[in-house]
Subunit: 210 residues, 4 copies
């Protein structure tokens, strides 16, 4: 395919070129395994997905963590993608009306950010394979998007302290369901350690075989 | 489209014809709302999805409930579809090796039964819009499939007692997360009441406006 | 699913209600079969897809036909959806910058209007099952979108005189490839007859069995 | 994601490792550009898709070319995937009944091999990014699959002499529509040159910048 190949060129160039923004190591203290499982934090393969649901932003410390995470991503040239989720059947197209600061914005057609949206095509085009997820609501749009991302082969890390829970009583189990069985849908971490990794400070990768 | 239109004929014929197998009413005692929300149990629009994960079938009373549910579906001419789910990247194609009793079998490419599978196309082709979900594992393949189905506009009912939990400690919250906020991903019921509905015995639909 | 069910209500209400805007008959002189194959022109199930490619609109009589078709759709309350297609990898998200006149606009991630877009979810949500396709380029975005629509079970009619060809030498074969084998991807017609059908004037449906 | 990560390990290992089976150069005499556009024939990134339609295999020299192409792929350890296409709505699941010789077989739900099938997930899982397409029918399943592959970012080469045409009169235009505008959907080549490339004999990549 040649028409429009300028972007494809950049993808393939990046794939072929040495990974100059890759640091061996992992994000500190992620559960249940040291993330990412391939033991390399590559800023060129990483995207931060900020998931949003309809309605006003809920209050709480999660917003401070999310803002710091997004700021660190911007400062280190890591792609941030705002993912608009909502109930299926509601308001299928239109403008998000949310500030995006030059980041990409994708609008899904349901609670999974991948359903009826350009998210998968966009991540593929930009050769982004590792995802940090945050936003609201943890148990709804964030969780559905993380499940769908994991099915598609993306390596996912939930920034738990940068997520707002729809029902605080369900928060522990929402996190546990990710952590169960060795990380069926990915891993769970905290934004300070993720920000450290964005800044180039990683933890040693585990030496055990996998 | 004309080639292969024999199946399309049947879809459109069914849509145009009077709904002779539709009973006004709902399944008794579903939570958090009387399912289905349109107040009609239509055996021609209904499918029972039996979700399976790799490995041997876990023991427990869930199997008795599942067998009874499938038996009632067969007896009443309601479509049963076995949905094979598994970790992404594992064994992408091949035979399920599970008994299907003439039912359809679809194999997904991850934990959502809709990912990389003919499930959506098959349900559309057969004009099946209402789904009863059961199987194992509740928090993994069943839950991912129900989330994806709900995004696609299917009206979903989880047969809770016919599901096996991967982690029994997570079972209550897995059910609660479906029930939260008025039924974000559908409703939760029990197989005896679902079997009654398959047999034509429904509860009165609520009279409140919606 | 209950949250956001207002739209679902309208879908099901329409399905359940008598088809008050359905006229027995077909569009006159469509090739290779009288469209639609089910012999009913239902304005509530119909959408006009106007496909667009990047760059300025090409000149030619096709634009007059397209404008008349869209005008007739608007006058008769038939949904018009602008479908933005483009080379894969080019400009994945952003504003179309095209006038939409209150119509829906969907942006795809390639030449098929269904790829990475809300088109399928939107058509399903609105219970639109019959599509009239027009726009540019005939052999590229229009053709890819029609092939993908046909796979998904939509009954498709190409408004040939309302399409611009990328390469006029390929126009006859692009039309022939649709007409071959009894209408593998749908049928081909002309905008005056389609406008007649939108206005309620149809041709008799063929009496032969199918 | 860790469960089932054995396959992911192999993908990432391959991505990270030196491309030991990659030969700089292109397939000789492809039209309208020297394929692949990135100027590297990498046997580990390549798949041969053999597309099939319902009914008996048509006769003709295309079968000899296809058999030679598949044999060369097998001999050089290049993945061959049989892609079953058919009219939408016909026989949605079931066994292909075709000999597969240990190759993968995927069954689509329409004329595009990507619709309702595990093809995209499987290619992603195996890190296959470059596709050679052959089979029958050229204008129907092969063409729809090539269009869908190109939208998804795969670099596609049609093995024209290894394809059977549904309507021989449409064959030239089916090939021209791929070649137009610099290769909108990929390139067109002949199986002897493709077999040379599978055997390690490539043409020099063009030196012009692109």
């Amino acid at each position: 395919m040649r028409t429009g190949s300028q972007d494809m060129t950049s993808i393939n160039a990046r794939r072929a070129s040495p990974r100059t923004r890759a640091t061996p190591g992992t994000v500190a203290e992620t559960i249940p395994y040291a993330w990412p499982w391939d033991g390399v934090v590559d800023l060129d393969a990483l995207a931060v997905l900020t998931v949003r649901a309809p309605g006003p932003l809920p209050d709480g410390p999660w917003r401070t963590h999310l803002d710091a995470l997004v700021e660190a991503a911007h400062r280190n040239g890591v792609r941030v993608i705002e993912v608009i989720t909502h109930p299926p059947g509601a308001d299928p197209v239109g403008d998000s009306g949310l500030p995006a600061d030059g980041d990409l914005v994708v609008r899904a057609q349901g609670w999974s950010g991948f359903f009826g949206s350009p998210l998968d095509a966009t991540l593929n085009r930009l050769a982004l394979t590792h995802l940090v997820l945050a936003g609201h609501w943890l148990e709804i749009g964030v969780h559905s998007t993380m499940r769908a991302a994991n099915d598609r082969g993306y390596e996912c890390l939930l920034a738990a302290d940068a997520c707002a829970s729809f029902d605080p009583l369900l928060r522990p189990s929402a996190l546990s369901s990710i952590e169960m069985s060795g990380g069926i849908f990915g891993a769970v971490g905290a934004s300070p350690a993720i920000i450290d990794a964005l800044n180039g400070t990683t933890a040693p990768a585990p030496t055990t075989g996998d």
